[in-house]
């Protein structure tokens, strides 16, 4: 429709333009005919047609004008055709018309072209984003485009006529072009950077200048930002030890950022190359890197790999290379990850250590969340409880019910406050048995102090608790031993001051520790022993040497008893005495025994042989000294174990037990010997004759051993009791036995044998009653006259007095018995004695 309208308008316009040409020609004819001046009129008609109608109407008017001119004004008149004479006129007319046509057409075309250019410029100026300003040669503005109005904030009329320096103060014109970056000012006074570019517009005499003014604020900011971001990038690369690189695959050219140079430790002045890169790559990694690069180049794949660098100083760096293939080159980054690698290595090592520790730790380990939930447990804990991790989430199930309330409340407290968790508790093992554990829990916190996790270490303390219990028991036991030991135990400070005594001491002295320490235990010493005892003790305290004395101590009832006293110092690691421990062993019985022996010896020496009693005394001394030696030695050992560092209570305990045992034994020996020598009136009582024989043989044990004599006994098991004085009977048997031993002293060619037999003698009693018969047979030298030996002062011995057998016979006879001797069958002598058996009437 539009096209249709357009073509119609074109047709109308064309009709009008050709009409104009026709009318112009008609008007020219009308004017020319009367005035006979045709040329001028038709020129005007052609000019008008060409000028306003265009080329077509112009030519049309020119052709019509030529035809009219020929028809009306050239002969032959009113007929077309030209006479020869008129040819010049016609030619001149025709040429003029054509020239006019051409000139007018050229002019019209030029104008049309100028109009088009003007319109184009106007469009450019109106739509340009830059300000376009024209100024005259004095610098005053005579044209601005809409962008300039926007730029400066002034309306066009306000700008026109103003000097350009009003908005760009530093603007100066220069020949032939002006180009500069200047500062412009807006109407509101704000300034902005502009790029000014002016050129001269030559227009005859009058000069003018037109130019662009471009706001470069955004560009400037972008430039500044770029500059900044570049420096940021450099800094970031430096900090992250990441260098960038570009690698042109076809040329092999490398581009490195400064950080890349630093990473590779290459002088930035040197052109980077593949050779330099490979020189730096660790020899062990070169082959691998080469392979990776070759493969990547073939496939065009991106690069992502790690390798090591070997630096000139021998150090090793780890590099992570990342690159993207793009348009024939790789663009990427080379990250120095040495410290990360080292950290990773350290972490790995730490992790390994941690694992080793967790699994080799001699305890059970459990981690809990900050809320207290069980998180992870180690294998030993799983093994011990026989539970799985999920079962252990309900941990109270394996805690001893007796320990659970306290454990739960402490744990809740620790979880709530973050305080360390510390508790002893029993945990049930896979075998159903509970063992004691010490649990110590510590929280692991992050940088802000928040608890990340709890670590709980459970240490088996069952053995320790057992050991502690055993030690306590042992201590109780020992203190009981010390309290009940049949010896008096004391302890003193290094200064010698008494600080402990056992119950026996208190009982014996009838006083207290305070009194003993305050009133001086030395007051209880026998006056004769006081001075040497005090001197010995003072010396022991000063020198720190073992203290060993014997003294008499007053008992609560005022009696004095003999004691063997031992004192042992306990020393610290520096050898300083820290305490004294001591024992008082009652040796009063032994002391009295010795006195008794001396008294017996003097008493018997009148009637019997000194040598015999001397030998006997030696035998008795052996009997009593053996257990006494053991008691005293054990006492010393006991003290030494007690004062050892550390004290060996087990050994001390053993020694103390032996003291008790051997002390009793010594007491028994003393009792027997004292009984043997007790001086008393003849006290006849029913006696076990075999028992008396055994007692005496026991006493003589040492003597027979010494003399290498074999003792044989053949005692009637069913021997009834005899009625006799025990002591005299003992003296009788003792004398006969020693007599037998003496008789064998000279024997060396045959066994020395002493036989003791007892029998019931059915037909030897004076009153017809049965008697007991005892035979003592030796393998000695024998007797010449068996009866003479019973006479007083008869002796076969070198030092003898000859009273022994006389006394023996008198003893037997005092008991209504008989004593006689007879030679034995082979050699030696048999002594026999009879004693009446106990009858109902003798009671």
């Amino acid at each position: 429709m539009a096209a249709h309208l357009l073509s119609r308008r074109k047709i109308v316009s064309r009709l009008w333009r050709y009409g104009l040409a026709l009318i112009s020609c008609a008007a020219a004819l009308a004017v020319a005919l009367p005035n006979d001046a045709p040329s001028s009129c038709f020129f005007i008609a052609v000019v008008l047609s060409s000028l306003y109608g265009g080329r077509g109407p112009g030519i049309f008017a020119g052709v019509i004008s030529v035809l009219i001119f020929d028809y009306f004004f050239l002969p032959p008149a009113h007929r077309l055709g030209v006479t020869a004479a008129s040819y010049p006129r016609f030619a001149a007319f025709l040429i003029t018309i054509v020239l006019v046509e051409i000139l007018i057409e050229a002019k019209r075309r030029a104008e049309e072209s100028r109009r088009l250019i003007d319109a184009q410029y106007r469009v450019i100026a109106d739509t340009a984003r830059y300000a376009i300003v024209s100024i005259d040669d004095t610098g005053r503005i005579f044209f601005v485009n809409p962008a300039a109005i926007t730029y400066f904030g002034w309306a066009a009329p306000q700008l026109i006529g103003q000097p350009l320096t009003a908005v760009i103060p530093d603007f100066r014109l220069a020949e032939p072009h002006t180009r500069a970056e200047l500062t412009a000012r807006r109407r509101d006074g704000t300034e902005f950077p502009v790029e000014v570019s002016f050129g001269e517009v030559a227009n005859g005499e009058r000069r003018s200048f037109t130019g662009f003014i471009r706001d470069i604020g955004a560009r400037k900011r972008a430039e500044a930002a770029l500059l900044k971001s570049e420096s940021y990038l450099v800094e970031a690369q430096k900090l992250s030890r990441t260098g960038s690189f570009g690698w042109n695959i076809s040329t092999g050219q490398l581009f490195w950022t400064p950080e890349t140079f630093r990473v590779f430790e290459v002088d930035p002045a040197i052109e980077p190359s593949r050779d330099i890169v490979f020189e730096r790559i660790h020899p062990d990694d070169r082959g691998r890197v080469m392979e990776i690069l070759d493969r990547a180049l073939q496939s065009g794949a991106n690069l992502d790999f790690e390798h090591r660098l070997l630096m000139p100083d021998g150090s090793v760096k780890y590099l992570h290379v990342l690159a993207r293939a793009a348009a024939g080159e790789y663009i990427g980054a080379a990250m120095d990850i040495t410290s990360a690698k080292q950290t990773e290595e350290a972490l790995r090592a730490g992790e390994l250590n941690f694992r080793l520790m967790v699994h080799s730790i001699p305890g059970l380990l459990c981690t809990n969340t900050p809320d207290g939930e069980v998180e992870v447990v180690n294998q030993p804990l799983l093994n011990y409880t026989g539970k799985t991790l999920s079962e252990l989430k309900n941990w109270p199930a394996v805690v001893h019910p007796g320990d659970l309330p306290a454990t739960q409340s402490l744990w809740a407290h620790s979880v709530a406050t973050g305080n360390p968790f510390d508790v002893d508790l029993r945990i049930r093992g896979a075998d159903g048995m509970y063992r004691w554990f010490h649990c110590r829990g510590l929280p692991l916190r992050d940088n802000d102090g928040r608890i990340i996790r709890w670590y709980n270490l459970l240490t088996d303390i069952e053995d320790r608790i057992d050991a502690e219990e055993a030690l306590r028991a042992r201590e109780r036991e020992l203190s009981l031993i010390i309290e009940t030991i049949p010896a008096l135990v004391w302890s003193a400070a290094p200064s010698g001051e008494l600080i402990y005594v056992n119950r026996r001491v208190k009982e014996y002295t009838g006083t207290t520790l305070d009194a003993l320490a305050k009133d001086q235990w030395t007051n209880l010493l026998h006056p004769d022993d006081s001075e040497p005892t005090i001197r010995a003790w003072t010396q022991a305290v000063v020198t720190g040497r073992q203290h060993e004395v014997q003294y008499r101590l007053r008992r609560a009832d005022g009696a004095y008893r003999w004691f063997h006293v031992l004192g042992q110092p306990l020393r610290d690691s520096n050898g300083r005495v820290t305490r004294w421990y001591g024992l008082l062993i009652d040796i009063d019985d032994r002391k009295r025994m010795e006195e008794d022996l001396r008294a017996t010896q003097s008493r018997l020496s009148r009637a019997t042989q000194t040598a015999t009693v001397g030998e006997l005394a030696a035998s008795i001394a052996h009997e009593i000294n053996q257990p006494l030696a053991a008691v005293v030695t054990n006492g010393n050992a006991c003290l030494r174990w007690l004062t050892a560092s550390p004290p060996n209570l087990a050994r001390a305990y053993e020694a103390a037990e032996r003291i008790v045992r051997d002390g009793k034994e010594a007491g028994e020996v003393v009792r027997r010997i004292r009984a043997l020598f007790r001086r008393a009136a003849l006290e006849k009582a029913a006696l076990d004759l075999n028992g008396v024989i055994a007692e005496v043989l026991h006493l003589l044990g040492g003597e027979t051993t010494k003399r290498r004599v074999t003792v044989e006994t053949d005692l009637e098991a069913a021997l009834p009791s005899v009625v006799a004085d025990r002591v005299q009977l003992q003296q009788l048997i003792l004398n006969l036995l020693i007599n037998g031993l003496d008789a064998m002293d000279a024997v060396s060619d045959r066994p020395r044998r002493l036989s003791v037999r007892s029998r019931v003698n059915g037909d030897n009693g004076d009153n017809g009653n049965d008697t007991a018969l005892v035979e003592i047979q030796d393998s000695g030298v024998g007797l010449k006259d068996p009866e003479k030996i019973f006479e007083a002062f008869f002796t076969t011995k070198e030092h003898g007095m000859g009273m022994g057998l006389t006394i023996c016979r008198s003893i037997v006879e005092a008991h209504d018995g008989r004593l006689w001797a007879s030679p034995a069958e082979d050699c030696g002598t048999i002594f026999r004695f009879t004693l009446p058996l106990k009858t109902n009437s003798s009671e």
């Binding site: 073992q546 053991a630 008691v631 005293v632 030695t633 054990n634 010393n636 030494r640």
Partner: protein
């Protein structure tokens, strides 16, 4: 002069109470003890060459202490021998010391004296 290794002290006595007490005492002083009930038992045990010191009772059934000392001295003249006796017998003491005994103690003996004698005997033995 004493070496770091524990010295071995052998004790021969027919009385077990005395043996036990001596063992406890010498162990409390840091020695290793070996005890025997008779001279024969000791000689047959083979520990004659292991012992650093020997303590023996004088009067025992079978071989007595003096005889044991003589036998021991034939094999090991340098071995320290200490005799202990429950009999205060000057004659035996004189003979024992004349035959090379390192000491002669009467029962009951002083523990410090016994240990001192052992120590002295051992230091003399190691000094030789």
């Amino acid at each position: 002069m004493t070496s770091l290794a524990k010295h071995i002290v052998a004790a021969v006595d027919d009385d077990f109470r005395v043996r036990e007490s001596i063992a406890s005492l010498v162990e409390s002083a840091g020695y290793t003890s070996l005890v025997y009930g008779s001279a024969e038992e000791f000689l047959q045990s083979g520990s004659l060459h292991a012992a650093d010191c020997m303590i023996t009772d004088v009067r025992m059934p079978g071989m007595d202490g003096l005889e044991l000392q003589r036998r021991v001295k034939l094999e090991r003249p340098g071995l320290a021998v200490i005799l202990i006796s429950a009999h205060n017998d000057e004659e035996i003491r004189r003979r024992a010391l004349a035959e090379g005994a390192a000491g002669f103690l009467n029962k009951p003996f002083d523990a410090a004296e016994l240990l001192g004698t052992i120590e002295l005997a051992l230091s003399e033995a190691s000094g030789n």
